[in-house]
């Protein structure tokens, strides 16, 4: 009896009956679907950013735009840690410092080319993420917050005290990218348009890295690992009961955050060509956290908006430069009290999509059958698995 069922199952292709999957395709248009709209928006932003140097290539604009891009990269990384995995990291700038210092030391003191220092940066950030994450991620999340705070200070003080990191004055003269005999500093001209070294290359490199970083972090958040992170964030015990290795999930989020910050550090080191411990104070960890919280934890568009706000605010509000940090502090409290999901919450639905009624499920789907309380589909469809006739299954149940 059971043997016959096994026999039947062995020959039956194990798949659900096809009517289950006969659903209408999700809308894909720019204005009819959330994903489509966000993709179009992102594409538009990239095009605008690509065009920007051709409109205004002054050193000032390019410098601000590059640092805004670096902020976006940092915030995307912190978003993975805080927004997706729900781990409060208050020493996030430490990984930024690790990235910047490793690339600085490798290119100046040890004389490696830039591409090698890139690999070294990523490795160093992974190691740093494991060193700090492995012991503390087993603890409660608020312990993690303060340990990371201490870790950020450790990195800064160490950089301040060691000789190899240049002490309080930091590292100067970090070389730029070189290909053959040509380096970014040389610049070149195409068709009469002059591309000076400082303008185009760091900006474009930053743009490419940041676009990859944003898309990568967003897609990681949607994948299997991202779902595990969000499950751990929402309820760690329930996630564990569902078979998620919460420790692995947390440490992977932590390492990915570290790598993102390290890449941002590398970008900054080559962009400014000089780094010093003062760039890695707790203040900046708090600013990045501020950007993520303000924009909306776990929401990619929100975090980008937050990053742009935090990085561009001092430029736009020059008169309020002194008050900026006070305002940020008050904003953090106010946002948490009145709009904890941020400006663009992760669960936000575009307003014109909200009014649309969900499409009714197709006639033969399991959902409608359950909803109506009576089988509206022929019993043979309900009870048979493709290739396994209903009668066989019935027979199997008889004594």
């Amino acid at each position: 009896m059971a043997g016959r069922l096994d026999q039947a199952l062995k020959h039956a292709p194990l798949r659900a009956p096809s009517p289950l999957f006969d659903r209408p395709r999700a809308p894909r248009g720019v204005f009819t679907s959330q994903t489509g709209f966000l993709r179009a928006l992102g594409g538009l932003a990239v095009v605008l950013l690509l065009v920007l140097p051709f409109m205004d290539a002054s050193r000032y604009t390019m410098s601000i735009a590059t640092s805004a891009l670096i902020y976006v990269m940092l915030c995307m990384g912190l978003n993975v840690v805080v927004g997706f995995a729900g781990l409060l990291d208050l020493g996030y700038i430490a990984f930024f410092a690790v990235g910047a210092y490793v690339s600085g030391i490798f290119t100046t003191v040890l004389g490696f080319p830039m591409w090698l220092s890139l690999i070294a940066t990523i490795c160093a950030c992974i190691i740093a993420g494991i060193i700090i994450g492995a012991p503390t991620l087993r603890l409660r999340s608020d312990y993690l917050a303060i340990v990371t705070l201490g870790f950020g200070e450790i990195i800064r003080i160490t950089a301040n005290n060691l000789d190899i990191t240049g002490g309080p004055s930091g590292i100067h003269g970090i070389p730029s990218w070189e290909f053959g005999g040509w380096s970014f500093d040389d610049g070149f001209s195409i068709g009469g348009i002059e591309f000076p070294g400082y303008v185009v290359f760091y900006y474009f490199v930053a743009l490419v890295v940041v676009v990859v970083g944003v898309i990568g972090a967003g897609r990681l958040g949607k994948g299997k690992m991202g779902r595990a992170w969000k499950a751990v964030r929402d309820d760690e015990d329930a996630a564990e009961a569902m078979g998620i290795n919460t420790y692995i999930a947390k440490i992977s989020a932590y390492i990915i955050g570290a790598v993102w910050a390290g890449m941002a550090g590398q970008l900054m080191a080559t962009h400014l060509s000089a780094i010093s411990p003062n760039s890695f104070q707790f203040l900046y960890s708090a600013l990045i956290l501020m950007a993520v919280v303000l924009g909306g934890m776990g929401s990619t568009p929100g975090v980008i908006i937050g990053a742009l706000f935090v990085s561009l605010a001092p430029e736009l509000l020059r008169d309020f430069a002194e008050w900026r940090f006070l305002i940020f502090g008050v904003l953090l409290v106010v946002v948490m009290l009145f709009r904890p999901a941020g400006l663009w919450p992760a669960t936000a639905v575009l307003p014109w999509l909200k009014r649309q009624k969900p499409q009714p499920p197709p006639f033969t789907s399991a959902v409608s059958a359950v909803d109506h309380g009576e089988p509206t589909v022929p019993p043979s469809v309900m009870e048979s698995v493709d290739g396994l006739p209903a009668t066989d299954a019935e027979e199997g149940r008889q004594p």
Binding site: L88, Y143, A286, L289, L326, L332
Partner: protein, 296 residues
């Protein structure tokens, strides 16, 4: 050697005073109050502001110090209650992350608010205790150090009395065990939590005034590092445990004193934070802490 121990005890008593507030608040509502270090800074600035308003500077009188300290304690205590009312109480049932982020925001607000009021440069504290001293067992003890240690000890004894012997203290311990149960038994949970914030902030304010008088200069970021150190002390002693916080504070002061002597002063902070990480890794419950059972 003895000198190192003595110096460690002085610094340790500051840490212990701040750590007590951390530990009490954590014990009762499971919140890491990041703004606690900044309350310490506020205490010092309240003292500075009052003394400057009366045009006092370079004073060495101990009674004046006590008066200023009481004033600072009341002010910071009220500020602590206000912070709890505005920023923490509405979020008491929110996810832990939200409250932590709010605490960071409060800390930022306090730091940069003070910066806007008093400017970014360090200020000289108007009371500077005399450095006349005497030698005992090969260590030099100044009268001011003795006064500070005595004040710290008295404050801690008063606190221990409040928590162990009064009905308010019993209510605090009840809430720490089970907030809902305590509420059902007729404890006014909100008022007791406000009291805890008042006491913790007052202790931090007292420590701030003492630190101002001891070190002589104050600035708007002085609370940041000591907040971290006090947390370390609270963890070493076992967070949520009052005697643990006192023990942890003194122990951390001693450790730092010796660490600075062995590795050099510039590594002092690294040494104590590394100690924090080690402690959390191998004995997260601390020396005196009870095993924490997570409720679901």
């Amino acid at each position: 050697m003895m000198q190192l121990i003595w110096n460690g005890l002085i610094v340790g008593s500051f840490y212990a005073l701040v750590a007590l507030g951390y530990s009490m608040v954590y014990g009762i509502i499971k919140l890491l109050n990041f703004a606690h270090g900044d309350i310490y800074m506020l205490g010092a600035f309240v003292g500075f502001f009052t003394l400057s308003a009366f045009g006092i500077s370079n004073e060495t009188s101990i009674p004046l110090l006590l008066v200023i300290m009481l004033l600072s304690m009341v002010t910071t205590g009220l500020i602590g209650v206000g912070i709890e009312r505005i920023a923490y109480r509405p979020l008491r049932n929110s996810p832990r992350l939200a409250v932590l982020i709010t605490a960071i925001g409060v800390s930022f607000t306090l730091e940069y608010g003070v910066r806007q009021l008093f400017g970014p440069n360090p200020e000289a504290f108007p009371i500077r205790l005399a450095s006349t001293g005497f030698d005992v067992l090969g260590m030099r003890i100044t009268a001011s150090q003795l006064v500070l240690v005595v004040i710290a000890a008295v404050l801690m004894l008063v606190l221990a009395h409040i928590v162990e012997r009064t009905s308010q203290g019993r209510a605090m311990r009840a809430i720490a065990l089970d907030p809902q149960g305590a509420q059902l038994m007729g404890v006014n949970v909100n008022r007791v939590i406000a009291t805890v914030f008042f006491i913790g902030s007052a202790l931090a304010g007292a420590a701030g005034v003492m630190a101002g008088a001891y070190y002589g200069s104050i600035d708007f970021l002085m609370g940041f590092i000591i907040g971290l150190k006090a947390f370390t002390a609270a963890v070493i002693g076992g967070i949520g445990n009052l005697y643990g916080a006192m023990l942890g504070g003194l122990l951390l002061g001693l450790l730092e004193s010796f660490g600075a002597a062995w590795f050099g002063g510039e590594w002092r902070d690294v040494f104590s934070f590394a100690f924090l990480i080690l402690f959390l890794t191998f004995k997260p419950t601390g020396l005196l802490g009870a095993r924490v059972v997570e409720r679901m």
